[in-house]
Symmetry: C2
């Protein structure tokens, strides 16, 4: 399967078999471009790149999980717009040493993510290069109106889905070789297998005034919402949802549990704001309030501000 065209033929067959509905796809893999019918609704489009030794190290994740993760991370931006992924293009760059079994596993992971997100793989590109790299373009359709970052208003409550810092802790556990820690596997899995948010898209469209996915770290992504909305925010540290074992494992590895929860990247949970009187039907935790101004503050249980050395996520290299 070393020939590019052999690979494309295999991919064409592989993704024809998918159970994701194809009614919108007029021309799929194998022509110059795909042709899709989005209907008459506005369409969501986003692109995300995962590069070896920047976003992942090969020895820390299997090819299957890598493929799955790359597509879900890209789909995460579509969910954060209160929209449903419908199609994806995957551009792969791989080194000569990347084997056929590696390639097949990567594609199986992509196929798994395609099923989980509902984004049908409609095209892509194959290229050689020095490092493995996956660039995913995802299209989607808003459940109602797309929720952007600029709608947060003073008084809105700030919510997050899931638990924060778990992915960063999982990665730290892998890097430290600390798999004997309690709940280690659960944290590692949070990093390797980001969450799927398809179920809450409609509720998000109904409740949220602004939304963002947490890829750079909660504080930094909240900052993006605040800048776009021209508002400030106050976070109550004691309200931050943290996974079982988070504090203990942070202590074992020398992290501040709040700092890791608020600045650790790649959770791919969603952060959104909603008016104080909104009935939020989404399983999510309120962690603070939007205020006037431009400052983003974190308060401890005494109401005193906490300062962190780092507000966002840093990549490997």
């Amino acid at each position: 399967m070393h020939d590019e065209f052999t690979k494309i033929e295999w991919l064409k067959k592989r993704f024809e078999k998918g159970t994701v509905p194809s009614r919108e796809v007029i021309v799929g893999i194998g022509d110059d471009a795909a042709v899709i019918d989005f209907g008459s609704r506005p369409t969501i489009v986003t692109v995300d790149t995962h590069v070896e030794d920047v976003h992942f190290r090969r020895e820390l994740i299997s090819c299957r999980e890598l493929g799955r993760r790359a597509v879900i991370a890209a789909a995460s931006d579509v969910w954060a717009m209160a929209s449903t992924p419908s199609g994806a293009l995957v551009a792969l760059t791989f080194p000569d040493a990347f084997t056929d079994p590696d390639f097949r596993e990567l594609i199986e992971g992509i196929a798994e993510a395609s099923e989980l997100t509902g984004a049908r793989i409609i095209g892509g590109n194959l290229s050689r290069g020095r490092s493995l790299s996956i660039t995913t373009t995802v299209f989607g359709l808003p459940a109602e109106e797309a929720v952007t970052r600029d709608g947060a208003r003073p008084g809105d409550r700030i919510y997050v889905t899931g638990e924060l810092g778990a992915a960063a802790l999982g990665l730290a556990i892998l890097e430290a070789g600390a798999s004997d820690l309690e709940h280690a596997e659960s944290f590692v899995s949070r990093w390797r297998r980001p969450p799927v948010h398809g179920q809450i898209v409609r509720e998000l469209a109904q409740s949220a005034t602004a939304a963002v996915d947490i890829s750079d770290g909660c504080l930094q992504d909240l900052q993006h919402v605040c800048v776009a909305s021209s508002v400030g925010a106050v976070i109550e540290a004691s309200d931050i949802p943290m996974a079982r074992g988070h504090r203990e494992n942070c202590a074992a590895l020398g992290f501040d549990p709040f700092e890791l929860a608020l600045t650790g990247g790649e959770d791919y949970e969603l952060l959104f704001t909603a008016p104080p009187d909104a009935e939020v039907q989404i399983p999510a935790t309120p962690i603070g309030t939007i205020i006037e101004g431009s400052e983003v503050r974190v308060l401890d249980s005494e109401g005193q501000p906490i300062e962190f050395g780092q507000t966002g996520y840093r990549h490997f290299s």
Copy 2:
């Protein structure tokens, strides 16, 4: 401008200024995803990657030309569907040594291509990595119905726009350091600055039964059409359009002029088929005929078959 968010802010401003109409863009650069309104027509989507030391060497092309070229090469797939580019997402991966002036020049080239193709830059992604890499997703709208690869029928005439092998010859001149050859600059420019086909899209939609862009080399791309259409083809070598100086420069560098014209990649000209009675209004050269079967043959002026050692384009590494 070393910070990612500073770059994104700069990009947001840079691409707001564009003269490409924005009525379809509801949310542009700076949110989780872009929101565009394609109307109720089917939409064309394609993705293309250009990787350093695979598709280009930095010392052979300026950053501005590189940016321009990456977007035009991706748009070429949209034109080959008889469609008009309307938007693009650009995912850039660059090494730490990539300077701010390099970055700005790359973006100016992308902006130039955006103007030339009509594809408004509506989003993208920035990432670090070991090699420079540009992945461009282009959207477009068919002029009428999208022209695919599978519509060629026995009896159809085969046409190509422009002149073949000129880009490959330009690259060979650069690699040989043979800039003293006559017309050298014109060939080099064919490689660095691929052609823009926006003007012929409507005529293509009206005349063509199948179309493809010539990126892998004329013979190989024709082969793709033949496989998709379940037909064969006969090419008359003496009808192949070759640029002024092509034969002389091929002789000087040790290439067979026909082989280079038919197998040299990256011309980004269009190959299309049209019924024998079609009035083709496109400036293009008829080079052969679609036949029954599956074989693609090249005949010399005596009607004898010519065999080439290589049917397609090979990348650098």
